[in-house]
Amino acid sequence: MTDVHDEQLDALLARLESDADPVEFDGLFADVDTNADASDDGGSYTLDVASSDERHENLSESAFRSVASDDLVAPYVTNWYYWEEVVGDRGRHRRAFLRHAEAASEHSVSDRYAALRSGMHTEWGEVLVTATLGEDGQRRYEIRHTEDRDAEADDLDTYHDPLDARDIATYDERGRYRPLKTAPSLVSGWVFPDLDGRDAVETLDVLYPASVANWNLEREGDLDVTHWHETAERQTGIYGVVEDLPGEAVDWMAEACCVDSQCLKRREWEYDEGHELDADGGTGAFPCREPCSLVVAAARKWTRLEEEETHSYEFELTPSEKEQVEEIVDAAADGRTEEIREADVYEGANRYRARFLRAKRFDEDGNLSGTPTHPEDHEADAEHDDGH
């Protein structure tokens, strides 16, 4: 049951009075013939909804109000009120997301109202948005971490202000700063249980900045993708050098930084318009439209590093030690070093194993197998890079 408030009916009638066009929205049809003679027995209003075969015509205002309050018709009226009067069309991206959250383009109002009563879910990065039906056709939205999908809301920390999401998004579960908000490291254990549409989108915009806008621009075929080459050309100052990063290194960079295990945005930028990158762009709900500032900053470092020529070194390692070096690189690259148990000496990246290798193979200057990095210049300065 959805009640229609007088305020909602007043708004619908006012809309019919103020605009010559009929209301045609989500299966609701309402019209008024302003030329009809008010003294006629019949009225001048027409009301019709998609789920009913009956078209109500020649209604007086009071009959219109009565029909609009009918159980079958009321959802269409409250639905119109929510979308046209409450949400409106000023926030184009916001409206598009909220429509998406109840699959409005796919289902009739009556089906949606039934589904909203039990909650309609949308995954957005690592969060789950649940749209429900509030009073009088108002929508309410709950946002929580997908890991907390089945948790009781009472067991989660409760928030109501979208700006509180800033604190949630700032640190990972080990307390480390998250400079990339779309890294898959959002902490769980919280819930925004009861947001209106504006605050729901605002919360998402804090957790995943600009994701709603970019998602909708893409949906509308209007996403402005800026590829690597163009991004690099635009850089100035200390980042001007990134233009010199070789093409194959851009591929390695995308593989290192932009795959789903590192970032939840779906990479839509390529090397340039005509050259795709080999790395997987990912399957995220929302797109990445250009290399972010973290990628550009890292590219600066890689540009410098890739300027170096390779050099042949000779190292003495046992086969197991060679494999151990590879395991250490893998563990660091996959962020697993913290997970490796202290006594798990079967893992090459175990701390004791690494310390043993260092004790055995490094000389007092930290050179692997005693082989200097710059054989011709033992005093080579370590590079200091303050880029941040």
Binding site: L163, L180, P209, A210, N214, G237, A297
Partner: protein, 291 residues
């Protein structure tokens, strides 16, 4: 509908870098003067490239939370915001007088009133003084006190020193503190020798920086001799060479900074007078003078 967007540097490494930006945005948001208040960053998200699309309003006041005119305000921000037809001559500035330019953002079509940086606005002088009040806990601080404004110096940007001199002159003209001095990190007169430049026993030292970080939390305290190792902390005031140094930390963390942001937007045409009055009072941490 009018929106305010505060743009700042931000950091990939230091989560505290953007804290003052968010706090000032919250202060302004609470006044209700703008339909929307958003923040955008060079190093954080939303990026300068994407912040405007998170704003629903057609008319946007953009205020850079930077200390001086230079590379960021003249090149990086207008470029990243895609302000069509931007040229630094739009500001017609002598290095201190950038006020506003009205342009259109190429990607969103919004009208953007691009303001000069907060650091060069005359209201910034009041924030420096407010910072002195906050750090001493005395709303009437002045008599018997020296006042030092600290900046980077000209090494990277000559306008940086101009802003320091400008505010030091304005504090001096107030005739409130016994002595006023501009000091620098990388040129004479150096902040290292702060006590050489003052007769007054008590000296308030306020760095003209937007956020606390490496320079204001590590370099300057150690350079002045407040501590040998910033990690062990320091007293406020700290005794150095027979003086008491009241070290305030970055001026940008002072609540009244929100007022300078509003002043910039007001100068660019935003109608927000009531909010300015509110912010001036509500950000005060010491009892108002005369109370």
């Amino acid at each position: 509908m009018q929106a305010l967007v505060i743009v700042a540097h931000g950091s990939h490494l230091n989560p505290d870098s953007s804290t003052p930006t968010h706090r000032h945005a919250d202060t302004i948001r609470a006044t209700g003067a703008f339909d929307e208040v958003k923040t955008g960053f060079w190093k954080e998200e939303p990026s300068l490239r994407e912040v405007l699309r998170t704003v629903e309003s057609d008319e946007v006041y953009v205020v850079p939370l930077f200390i001086s005119e230079g590379y960021f305000t003249e090149q990086v921000i207008p470029r990243e915001l895609r302000l069509s037809g931007w040229d630094v001559s739009e500001w017609d500035s002598d290095g201190l007088s950038a006020d506003t330019a009205t342009l259109v953002a190429e990607d969103t079509g919004q009208t953007v009133h691009y303001c000069g940086p907060v650091g060069t606005h005359e209201a910034m002088t009041d924030v420096l003084v407010r910072r002195a009040e906050t750090v001493t806990g005395d709303p009437n601080v002045g008599e018997g006190f020296g006042f030092a404004v600290v900046g980077h110096g000209t090494e990277r940007n000559e306008n940086s020193a101009k802003a320091i001199e400008y505010h030091a002159d304005r504090v001096r003209e107030m005739d409130r503190f016994d002595e006023v001095q501009a000091l620098y990190m990388d040129e004479e007169p150096e902040v290292d020798d702060v006590t050489d430049y003052f007769e007054a026993e008590d000296i308030v030292v306020v760095p003209l920086f937007i956020a606390d970080g490496f320079h204001t939390q590590e370099d300057i305290p150690e350079d002045m001799g407040l501590t040998d190792d910033y990690r062990t902390g320091y007293d406020i005031p700290a005794d150095v060479d027979g003086h008491r140094i009241w070290y305030a930390g970055a001026v940008g963390t002072e609540g009244l900074m929100a007022d300078v942001i509003l002043e910039r937007a007001a100068d660019a045409g935003a109608e927000i007078e009531a909010a300015i009055e509110t912010v001036r009072e509500e950000t005060r941490e010491t009892p108002a003078a005369g109370d």
